[in-house]
């Protein structure tokens, strides 16, 4: 395993997505129109619980859509070429790193658009941003492996949702509870525990993906 190779794999992902701006722009439009639909149906959300849950649901769906594309766009021939250059552990790590960066940007954009249109009742902005960061890491780690699994099947987009939603839920529920604390500005004592368990789930996710992906990548 080499860091330079991981670095070039990550930049390869970046370049590929930058080259196909269509799909990147597609995700941005997806975010924009989803937020706009929410704006038209809610106008202004005052209730912290609704505000929080809706934002995370939008982020979850955006994530699932963008990560599914990430694996599905690799053609068989290109994958074959990739196998000769790098080992699977480097590939899965680079994919997770790239997806984390992508999700971080996407969730910040979602957060910006959402608060712009639907109002911003968040009491503790800094804490909320920290939740966004840890959420982006956790979602990308878990969903990258799920996307790798789903891409092996015939109906990958449907499968992506049904495989990843149950698996992501322990993480997502803790995440929503944590960010609700920051939106309401209550229970600061709980937050450390929540951060610890989110970190724990992320570590488990990375380890599992790192160990299991080598079995998955070529048939």
């Amino acid at each position: 395993m080499q860091y330079s190779r991981i670095k070039s794999l990550v930049s390869k992902e970046l370049l590929l997505d930058w080259k196909a701006k269509n799909s990147l722009a597609g995700i941005l439009i997806y975010v924009a129109s989803t937020v706009f639909v929410c704006y038209l149906s809610f106008q202004h959300i005052v209730e912290p619980k609704t505000f929080n849950a809706l934002l995370w649901i939008i982020i979850l769906f955006t994530t699932v859509n963008s990560i599914t594309k990430n694996f599905a766009q690799e053609s068989d021939n290109r994958l074959l070429y990739l196998y000769t250059l790098a080992n699977p552990k480097e590939i899965i790590l680079s994919k997770m790193i790239y997806n984390t960066i992508l999700l971080l940007i996407l969730s910040l954009i979602t957060y910006g658009a959402y608060t712009l249109l639907l109002g911003n009742p968040i009491q503790n902005q800094l804490g909320f941003l920290a939740t966004l960061v840890i959420g982006a890491i956790g979602l990308s780690v878990t969903l990258t492996l799920m996307a790798a699994i789903a891409s092996k099947s015939s109906n990958s987009s449907t499968l992506m949702a049904i495989l990843s939603f149950p698996v992501i839920l322990p993480f997502l529920i803790t995440l929503i509870a944590l960010s609700l604390n920051f939106v309401e500005g209550t229970n600061p004592g709980q937050n450390f525990n929540y951060f610890m368990s989110l970190g724990g789930i992320i570590v488990i996710g990375i380890t599992m993906a790192y160990l299991l992906f080598p079995y998955l990548w070529r048939d």
Binding site: I149, S153, S154, L159, I162, V167, P170, I204, L212, F213
Partner: protein, 220 residues
């Protein structure tokens, strides 16, 4: 006969737990009343389900280290049987909840955890169904099985400890083992658990053998 003693043990233990479960006196509890007898039927389902899922996990791990398709068949069949047992556990639990907590479904972490794990393994079945190639199917399913098992354990073991639950033993409620169950109840409960695990194993065993025969006929 010598090979099949565990099947007979399973029948005897489950029969004993059914007869004993309805006839042997139970402690009188407020709210619970006679529904406490559901302990003998509801909880063993979970034990049997978890035992089978863990068996399935071991087969998946073993499959990944040798790529023997018969191990994959074992993992697949035990997941199917455990889904059946899980559904039974959910139904008996819902019935119990209606009489003690007042509704069929409450927003309880354990209930949600169970629903999630059932969804996870239904997804496993769907995943298997949507891949044609046998070897690829087995590999992908094994990877998902291992990942899903770990996440399920995280959900049903760790998360409930962080929040309140109506179930005994979590969130400040007294545990069943320490308060509610006396020795006569234990004398029925533990045999019931072992018995249902054995019955589950037997059903799985039969399903594996049927599938093996089918495979043999298809490739002959």
């Amino acid at each position: 006969m010598a090979k099949n003693w565990w099947k007979i043990a399973g029948i005897l233990l489950v029969a004993y737990s059914i007869v004993g479960g309805f006839l042997i006196p139970v402690p009188e509890m407020p709210i619970l009343n006679e529904t406490i007898r559901n302990t003998y039927f509801h909880i063993p389902m979970w034990f049997a389900m978890m035992a089978l899922l863990t068996y399935s996990l071991f087969n998946s791990i073993k499959f990944l280290s040798g790529f023997d398709l018969s191990l994959d068949n074992k993992a697949d069949q035990s997941v199917q049987v455990s889904l059946f047992l899980g559904a039974l556990g959910l139904l008996t639990g819902m019935l119990w909840a209606q009489f003690t907590w007042g509704s069929f479904w409450t927003n309880d972490v354990k209930l949600n955890g169970t629903a999630i794990s059932l969804l996870t393994y239904f997804a496993y079945v769907i995943l298997r169904g949507s891949i044609e190639d046998e070897n690829r199917k087995a590999k992908v399913a094994a990877v998902y099985n291992i990942f899903a098992w770990v996440m399920m354990i995280v959900f049903i073991m760790v998360i409930p400890r962080m929040t309140d639950s109506l179930h005994p033993g979590n969130g400040g409620n007294p545990a069943f083992g320490s308060y509610d169950m006396d020795n006569t109840m234990r004398a029925v409960f533990y045999p019931a658990v072992v018995g249902w695990i054995l019955i589950g194993a037997w059903i799985t065993n039969l399903k594996i053998r049927i599938k093996n025969i089918e495979n043999k006929q298809n490739y002959a």
